[in-house]
């Protein structure tokens, strides 16, 4: 494995290159997330920010955090975020009207002030200080070290997290699942028995798919049945209604010997 960060506390060349390429991109994407008008674009930029963060984590020797960042945030949270956007409507415009007068100006001033304060404080606390402790924490290996903490010292909070997950499932079901009255729709089992215990087994394995073998497999060419007639039910009803169906007999092999002639058991 390639170690991107070679020594603790010193930025080595590959890590520096990685950082100076990705950091501006990440900041640009974060700014773009705020500025772009369409919510979906904003969400995609957020995904980019999350992926770059994951790369940074891994480069900083926090392998587990980087993987969790990708698995949970970039995968799952992003998906959830997109679904929420789509529940609201992809084209729903942001409301830019201010309900409280001077809200935006105050918010920007407060945010800049808060950010400036935080940056100056963190700067004072970290610049000219040697960072310590990472080598110690990572001594048994990043993931192994975490595992030994989660499953020994913090085993109780870990178990309690399962309560959190159950609550989340309850919440999702309560808020989003409507209990349809029983019998409103046939169950999978009932549908299956209708299919196999009905009058005919002709369509039990599903409808035939469109196209003629090796000659034309587009959706507008009906399949040819063994007796040479086109199968109407292999074509979408929409195409039939629009009159876009082609005559598939033109693709049949006229010269093929008749099956009956070849059969030897007559």
């Amino acid at each position: 494995m390639i170690r991107l960060s070679l020594e603790i506390g010193q930025t080595q060349k590959p890590e520096a290159i990685l950082f100076y390429i990705l950091a501006p991109l990440s900041v640009l994407a974060a700014l773009g997330m705020l500025i772009v008008r369409k919510a979906v674009h904003s969400a995609l930029l957020l995904a980019w920010v999350m992926i770059t963060l994951a790369i940074f984590y891994i480069a900083l020797d926090a392998a587990f955090l980087g993987i969790v960042q990708i698995v949970v945030y970039t995968g799952a949270v992003m998906m959830l975020f997109l679904f929420i956007l789509m529940l609201v409507g992809v084209d729903a415009p942001d409301s830019l009207t201010e309900n409280i007068k001077g809200h935006r100006a105050t918010a920007i001033v407060a945010a800049l002030g808060f950010g400036g304060l935080l940056i100056s404080l963190i700067g004072r606390a970290t610049l000219n200080h040697v960072s310590v402790g990472l080598a110690m924490a990572n001594e048994p290996g990043n993931v192994q070290g975490l595992a030994s903490l989660i499953f020994t010292q913090y085993v109780f909070p870990f178990e309690v997290i399962s309560a959190l997950l159950i609550t989340a499932a309850l919440g999702a079901m309560v808020l989003a699942h409507s209990q349809k009255s029983a019998g409103a729709r046939l169950s999978q089992r009932a549908l299956s028995s209708v299919r196999f215990r009905g009058d005919s087994l002709a369509n039990a394995a599903g409808l035939p798919s469109s196209g003629v073998f090796a000659r034309h497999n587009a959706v507008d060419v009906p399949a040819l049945l063994p007796d040479g007639t086109p199968a109407k039910n292999s074509i979408s009803g929409v195409l039939t209604a629009r009159g876009d169906v082609q005559d598939s007999t033109q693709y049949a092999l006229g010269s093929l010997p008749k099956v009956d002639d070849e059969s030897g058991d007559k």
């Binding site: 935080l118 020994t152 010292q153 913090y154 109780f156 309690v160 309560a163 159950i166 609550t167 919440g171």
Partner: protein, 504 residues
Amino acid sequence: MSDTPVLQYSFLAPILIVLGGAVIGVLLEAFAAAKRRAVLQLTLTLGTLFIAFLSLLRIRNLTSAKAAMGSVMIDGPTILMQGTILLIAFFAVMIIGDVDNFTAQASAVPGSDEEKSALQAGRQQTEIFPLTLFAVAGMLLFPAANDLVTLFVALEVLSLPLYLMAGLSRHRRLFSQEAALKYFLLGAYASAFFLFGAAFLYGFSYSVTLSGIHAAVIGGTANNIFLLIGLTFISLGLLFKVGAVPFHAWTPDVYQGAPTPITGFMAAATKVAAFGAMLRIYYVTFAEANWNWRPILTVIAIATMLVGSIVAITQRDIKRMLAYSSIAHAGFLFTGVIALNKAGLAATLFYLLAYGFATIGAFGVITLVRDSSGEITDLNRWAGLGRRSPKIAALFSFFLFAFAGIPLTSGFIGKFAIFTAAYESGNIGVVVVGVLSSAIAAFFYIRVIVMMYFADDNGDSLTVVIPSPLTSIAIWVSGGVTLVLGVYPTPVLNAINTLATFIR
């Protein structure tokens, strides 16, 4: 790699029993017939809380034990706060048991045909009961947590069900859903700040345990800027939970929009849990760094008392008024926190018990005042209620007296104890503001009473419904506790005084 962890299950028993009950509740949701769910769930929930309380009584003398590899601290304040939470939750569940207050089907769009058919079919969201138990489990863990990881997990376990339950009101559902969303978004934001603070405190002390951070605080060699940032952000997360000014904005909306039994539960039990955790953090971990947090918390206490009391005067809605009153009470509780002495700790614990029961009772009464469209919370329409239902109105007046701190109610003893503690710590300014805002607050409580008894009956269609047996037990017991704590508080005060010592 290391020895097998020892969890000391008997010390954790109250929390584990409540969690177990909640899990069984979810299984009941999955496998029990829909018709019997409500009764089964109610029995299970009350039974679980009762058994958890019994198991707490069994460990009440083990007042200096660490459990779960040091994640949980069982000391006197833990026992007292867990007991208070379990008692409050028990009576709150009795009121929650009246499922008429909750939506028939939360996923149905308000006003849709689906909602109507769910109402006609008599569906119920009995998920409320396991959710309540999960919240109670989080609340039990929150004041006992001895490291920041456990503290954060407990914070989420107690918050998540509350966010959800705030949106399940039967009437005025859009309002309720808006409340839930606001509570969730702001709560998630506050949690993020809490986590950020925890990270900085780890940077400060190389430890997430409260004793480890304390060692770094008295060691004095660590990076103090990290301490400041961490302390600020952790406090911010906790201040949000108790609804202190300027993090109070969610309180009126959520109290008003949430189903009233949930509002009562939330107002009473969340305050105990959050103040419990706050007391532990400030008294155990940051006591020696009090020059960092005491001045700003003093300002917050004063602002909270004043804003809560003054804005409550302008409210026309009873639930909103009680929300601002709860903000003011958070301010009074802060005077106990910043006293930073044993008297302050004991007084805060007593105040939490007294306020909790009065709150459960008061919101219980509000669930009873209805007309055909549901609960009536508009204060003007309460006019003349005292003549139509003298008993209920008298009980409600009694709870309001307790909030106001009139003698012979628990509120008086609580306020007296807490202001005495603040006075002893030399914080005269806070005491003056506290008494002043108590006087302002008394005005709007008395106004409600005057309205109920002396205003003209406006011939309104609202009635006080006959409470279900459980609801009436809950509100009358709350009234009884409020009276007993006001008339003869000595045994409780003595018990609290013997137990109220934090162990590091």
